[in-house]
């Protein structure tokens, strides 16, 4: 198996996106360090480093929270989809900020000449059986390793190399990493620093991410799917929004996106060939079915990406019986033409 490497394709929108994220990071860090210094001026180099550890840690936590909120937010409101398109850059920047958090932590030990005590702290095995007193840094280290793996494999080269399925599974580990980060803070700094801001940050961030996923998931509940003679009953053509899709579920598993482009009706797998994105939540743009995640495009007629791209999607046979659109749940080989035209009168 081989995969060709393509350089990152920069465009103006991506540059603006990255500039905004970088400016946000700079403002956050500057504000944190300024307020922290104003409230409690560092008395020695170790205290100054400690403030930097907190600043970069808080920034990385906030960035991770925002990253996990982008997915459900974009599903709830399509206007937020541009935030999704360059989420990978946001993720890599989060890893870099987290790296500086780790670096300042090491710097703190080096400055005090106490680096061996860090190793001793991480290998005090009886502490792993405790709850309060658990070596919280280990939780942070594991989360950091997950972020490293994600950042290292964020390029499309790895997406192709690992296959979208494995790549997606790897990147879903970010949820586990987020849980570890929350516990890293709860069992670490929250145990010694009494400021209410820390529990507030944890409950606010974690609660917001959980609530957004719940709301988005609730809206995506499977629609009741009726089956007639082995075909899925979708409804009259006008029930499918023009240049958009209805998502139906096949009795045995896959979701199918039934798109309508004027009079043309076609059914494609709901999984984009790029990253398994929810194709049915996309729209028809410039005559092509467009994935809401990264804008990958396919012809409605046969599920093929326009030249020079080579991606192909599984299609499903469509028929109109008694004025009702029906879809065959059995997929056709990728790239098989299967769309039909409906009567003008039925719209």
């Amino acid at each position: 198996m081989s995969a060709g490497f393509r350089a990152v394709q920069w465009n103006r929108k991506k540059l603006i996106y990255d500039a905004i994220v970088l400016a946000g990071v700079a403002i956050f860090l500057a504000a944190f360090l300024a307020v922290g210094t104003w409230i409690k001026p560092p008395q020695n180099p170790a205290e100054a480093i400690d403030l930097r550890i907190r600043a970069f840690g808080s920034c990385a936590f906030t960035m991770l929270t925002l990253i996990l909120a982008i997915g459900p937010l974009a599903r709830l409101d399509r206007r937020l989809l541009p935030l999704l398109y360059n989420r990978r850059h946001f993720g890599v920047m989060t890893f870099l900020v987290a790296s500086l958090h780790v670096w300042f932590m090491l710097d703190w030990y080096i400055t005090l000449g106490a680096l061996p005590s860090l190793a001793e702290e991480l290998t005090r095995w009886p502490d792993y059986a405790r709850f309060i007193g658990f070596p919280f840094k280990t939780l942070g280290i594991v989360a950091f390793m997950v972020l490293f793996l994600m950042a290292a494999t964020s390029h499309d080269f790895w997406l192709v190399m690992l296959t979208p399925k494995a790549w997606k599974a790897l990147h879903m580990a970010v949820y586990g990493a987020y849980g570890l980060v929350v516990m890293h803070v709860a069992l670490g700094i929250m145990q010694t620093d009494r400021t209410p801001l820390i529990p507030l940050m944890l409950f606010g961030g974690f609660g917001a991410v959980a609530a957004l996923h719940l709301v988005a998931g609730f809206r995506e509940r499977d629609r009741g799917t009726a089956v007639r003679d082995g075909w899925i009953v979708v409804g009259p053509p006008r029930a499918i929004p023009d240049q958009a899709a209805l998502i139906v579920a096949a009795p045995g598993g896959e979701r199918i996106a039934v798109f309508r482009d004027g009079r043309q009706i076609g059914a494609l797998t709901n999984l984009c060939a790029h990253q398994n994105g929810p194709l049915g939540e996309g729209r028809i743009i410039d005559g092509y079915v467009t994935c809401p995640w990264h804008g990958y495009q396919y012809r409605l007629a046969d599920g093929c990406a326009p030249a020079p791209f080579t991606e192909k999607l599984e299609t499903h046979r469509v028929r109109i019986r008694d004025g009702i659109v029906e879809v065959d749940p059995r997929p056709l080989p990728p790239g098989t033409p299967a769309a039909v035209m409906c009567d003008k009168a039925s719209l």
């Binding site: 170790a46 480093i49 400690d50 550890i53 907190r54 300042f104 932590m105 703190w108 709850f131 309060i132 997606k168 879903m172 949820y175 586990g176 849980g179 929350v182 516990m183 709860a186 069992l187 700094i189 929250m190 145990q191 010694t192 009494r194 529990p199 944890l202 409950f203 974690f206 609660g207 959980a210 996923h213 998931g217 579920a249 598993g253 896959e254 979701r255 999984l271 398994n276």
Partner: protein
Amino acid sequence: MRRAHRSIHRLVWPILALAVMLGVVTALALRAPPEEPTQEARP
């Protein structure tokens, strides 16, 4: 993502979320009372 994967995901992540939330609440409830700052705090 097949429906089976979605079902597992939907089952697992609320359990994970509840576990983390419970962990934070417990960590908050069990934390030691404030002490006089006699020693240099570790990061």
